[in-house]
C-alpha cells in the first residue's frame, strides 16, 4: 500500500550519535524582550513621582471604602440601580444590533474573496479608523450632538462596534470554503445570489457568535457610559461615588457584576451551541478566537 507511513531507521547511526543530547535551542528574543520590559518598568517607576507611603496606605483605604460599600450595601438603592442596569442592557442590545447591521456589509466588502480590490482597501481603512475610537469619546460626541440620554449611548456603542465586528466578519468570510461559491457560480447565480447561497450560510454561525461576544463586551461598556450622560447605570454610579454614598455605590456595583456574569454565562452557552451544534462539547475553550476578541 502506497499511503502507509513507513518507519525509517538509519542503520548507519552509531551508539555515540544516538546518545548525544540535542543542543539546547537558544532564543535571545524573549530575553531581550524581558530586559527591555524591565528597563522600561524601572524608568517608569523611577520618574513617576509616586511615593511609596501613598501606595502602602492604599490597601487600608481601599478596605475602608469596600467595607462602607458592601457591609452592608444600601438595599434601598437596589430598585433604581436595577432599572439603570436594565437601561444599560437596552443600550447594549440596540447598539450591538446597529453595529452588527452596519458591519456586515462593510465586513463583506473588506473580505478579499468577496469585495473587489478597491472596495477591500477602502473598507479596511474605514474599519481601522472606527476601531481606534474609544466608545467614551464617541459617547461624548453623541451626547453633545443629540443631547443627554440612552440614545446617545446606543449610537456610541453601535459606531464603536462596527470596527471590530467588521474586521472579524472579513476574517471569517476570508476563511470559508470556495466550493459552494464555485458551485453557485456554476449554476449561474448572480453576485447577490452567490453571497446568499455560497458565502453567508458558511460564515453566519461564526459571525453571529461574534455578535454575541460583542454584546457581552458592550454590556460592560454601556454600564459606564452614563458617566458622560449617555444613559444607563453609569451616571448613577458616578454620582454615588463623587458624593461618597459608598453604600449605594456598592449596591450598584454588585448589580453590575451579577448581571454581567449572568449575561456572559447565557451568551457563551448560546455561542457554543451555534458553533458546535447540539452535540457539541460543553467544555473546552470558548469558540471565539481569543486573540482577536477585543
Amino acid at each position: 500500500m502506497p499511503g502507509l507511513p513507513t518507519r525509517t531507521t538509519s542503520p548507519t547511526r552509531t551508539t555515540a550519535e544516538r546518545a548525544m543530547r540535542p543542543d539546547k535551542p537558544r532564543r535571545y528574543g524573549p530575553i531581550g524582550l524581558a530586559l527591555m520590559a524591565a528597563a522600561a518598568g524601572l524608568w517608569a517607576a523611577w520618574t513617576s513621582g509616586i511615593d511609596l507611603a501613598t501606595v502602602l496606605r492604599g490597601p487600608e483605604t481601599l478596605l475602608r471604602i469596600l467595607r462602607m460599600m458592601l457591609l452592608p450595601p444600601d438595599v434601598s438603592a437596589a430598585p433604581a440601580a436595577f432599572a439603570g442596569m436594565i437601561e444599560s442592557l437596552q443600550i447594549a442590545w440596540i447598539g450591538t444590533l446597529l453595529g452588527a447591521a452596519v458591519s456586515l456589509p462593510i465586513g463583506l466588502l473588506a473580505a478579499k474573496n468577496v469585495g473587489g480590490r478597491f472596495s477591500t482597501t477602502v473598507a479596511r481603512q474605514v474599519l481601522n479608523l472606527l476601531r481606534s475610537l474609544p466608545e467614551l469619546v464617541l459617547a461624548i460626541l453623541f451626547v453633545s450632538i443629540i443631547g443627554l440620554g440612552p440614545l446617545a449611548g446606543a449610537l456610541a456603542i453601535g459606531l464603536g462596534s462596527i470596527g471590530t465586528l467588521g474586521k472579524l466578519t472579513a476574517e471569517v468570510v476570508e476563511g470559508i470554503d470556495r466550493g459552494p461559491i464555485e458551485a453557485a457560480e456554476a449554476v449561474g447565480a448572480s453576485r447577490v445570489q452567490v453571497l446568499r447561497w455560497g458565502v453567508l450560510p458558511q460564515a453566519m454561525p461564526e459571525i453571529i457568535a461574534f455578535w454575541l461576544y460583542r454584546f457581552e463586551i458592550n454590556v460592560r461598556a454601556s454600564a459606564i457610559l452614563g458617566l458622560v450622560g449617555a444613559g444607563g447605570i453609569g451616571g448613577m454610579l458616578a454620582n454615588y461615588l463623587s458624593y461618597r454614598r459608598y453604600g449605594s455605590a456598592g449596591m450598584a456595583i454588585l448589580i453590575v457584576i451579577a448581571v454581567t456574569i449572568a449575561i456572559d454565562a447565557v451568551s457563551s452557552r448560546i455561542r457554543r451551541r451555534i458553533i458546535a451544534g447540539p452535540q457539541g462539547s460543553r467544555t473546552g475553550p470558548d469558540p471565539v478566537p481569543a486573540a482577536d476578541a477585543l
Binding site: G41, I50, T54, G58, I94, L141, G147, I257, P285
Partner: protein, 271 residues
C-alpha cells in the same frame, strides 16, 4: 464508479431536516426584545427621523472636530509621558499577576480543585468590572493622579490577559505534560517545564496586546482623574474645545497605530 447506482441516488432529493420549534421562538423572542429595548416608552427611544433631524445640529461640532488645533501639540507631551508610564507599569505588574492567575484558572495547571475554582471565580469577578469603574473607585482611594490609573489598569490587565492565557493553557498539547509526569515531575515541575514554555509565546503576545489596550484605555481612565492624556481630553471637553479634542484623539490614534504595527511584527516572530 459504477454507472447504474449513482444516478438513481442522486435523483432522490435529500430530506429536509425536521423543523424545530426553537428557531421561530428564538426569532420572536429576538424581535420582542429589540422592540422593547428600542421603544420610546420602555427603552432607548430609537427613531430614525428624529435622529436625522438631530444630526444636523451637530454640524458645528463636526466642523470643529475636522479642524484640529495643531498649535497645541506642546501640551500633549507631558500628559503623554505620564500615560506611557501608567501603561508600562500597569502592563508589567498586571501581566505578571495574570500569569499566576491564569495558571490557577485552568484545569490543566491548577494544583487542586479548590484553587482552580477560586482563581476562576476571581478572574470572572475582575473581568466583570469595567476599567472605568476601577478608575473611579481608585480615584476615591488614592485621590486624583496617575497612581489610581496604574492600579485600575493593573486589574484590567489581569482580567484580559488572565482569561486569554488560561484558555491557551486549556488548549495546549497534553503530550509534554504527560511526558513530564511520566518522568516523575512534581506538579510545580510540570508547570515549569511543560506548561509555561508551551504558552509563553502566546502569553507574551497577549501582554503586548494588553499594553496596546492600556494606551487606548488611558484616554478613558484619565477622564475620571486617573492621570495621563485622558485628563487633557476631559479638560478640553469641559471647555467645549472640540479642536483640541480632535488633536488629542488623532494623537492617540497615531500612537496606537505605531505601537500596534510594532507589536504585530514582534508577535509574528514570537508565535
Amino acid at each position: 464508479m459504477t454507472s447504474d447506482v449513482a444516478p438513481r441516488t442522486a435523483r432522490t432529493r435529500p430530506q429536509r431536516p425536521a423543523r424545530s420549534w426553537k428557531a421561530p421562538v428564538g426569532v420572536l423572542l429576538f424581535l420582542a426584545i429589540t422592540w422593547w429595548a428600542g421603544s420610546d416608552r420602555f427603552g432607548v427611544g430609537f427613531s430614525l427621523p428624529d435622529l436625522l433631524a438631530n444630526l444636523e445640529r451637530g454640524q458645528r461640532i463636526v466642523s470643529e472636530l475636522a479642524d484640529p488645533r495643531w498649535q497645541a501639540w506642546r501640551s500633549l507631551i507631558d500628559p503623554f509621558i505620564e500615560t506611557l508610564r501608567i501603561a508600562i507599569l500597569a502592563a508589567l505588574l498586571g501581566c505578571s499577576a495574570a500569569l499566576v492567575a491564569a495558571l490557577g484558572a485552568s484545569r490543566v495547571s491548577a494544583p487542586g480543585l479548590r484553587s482552580y475554582l477560586a482563581s476562576k471565580g476571581v478572574l470572572n469577578v475582575v473581568r466583570a468590572i469595567p476599567d472605568l469603574l476601577y478608575a473611579m473607585v481608585f480615584v476615591a482611594v488614592f485621590s486624583i493622579g496617575p497612581l489610581a490609573g496604574i492600579v485600575a489598569l493593573i486589574l484590567f490587565n489581569i482580567g484580559v490577559v488572565g482569561k486569554l492565557t488560561s484558555e491557551t493553557v486549556d488548549g495546549i498539547d497534553p503530550g509534554p505534560v504527560e511526558a513530564a509526569q511520566a518522568a516523575g515531575a512534581g506538579h510545580a515541575q510540570v508547570v515549569r517545564t511543560a506548561i509555561v514554555p508551551a504558552v509563553l509565546p502566546n502569553y507574551i503576545a497577549y501582554s503586548l496586546y494588553a499594553f496596546e489596550l492600556n494606551l487606548r484605555a488611558s484616554l478613558v481612565v484619565g477622564f475620571v482623574g486617573a492621570g495621563g492624556i485622558g485628563q487633557l481630553l476631559q479638560v478640553a471637553l469641559s471647555a467645549f474645545r472640540y479642536d483640541v479634542v480632535a488633536l488629542v484623539v488623532l494623537f492617540i490614534f497615531a500612537v496606537v497605530f505605531v505601537v500596534e504595527s510594532f507589536s504585530i511584527a514582534l508577535r509574528r516572530r514570537l508565535v
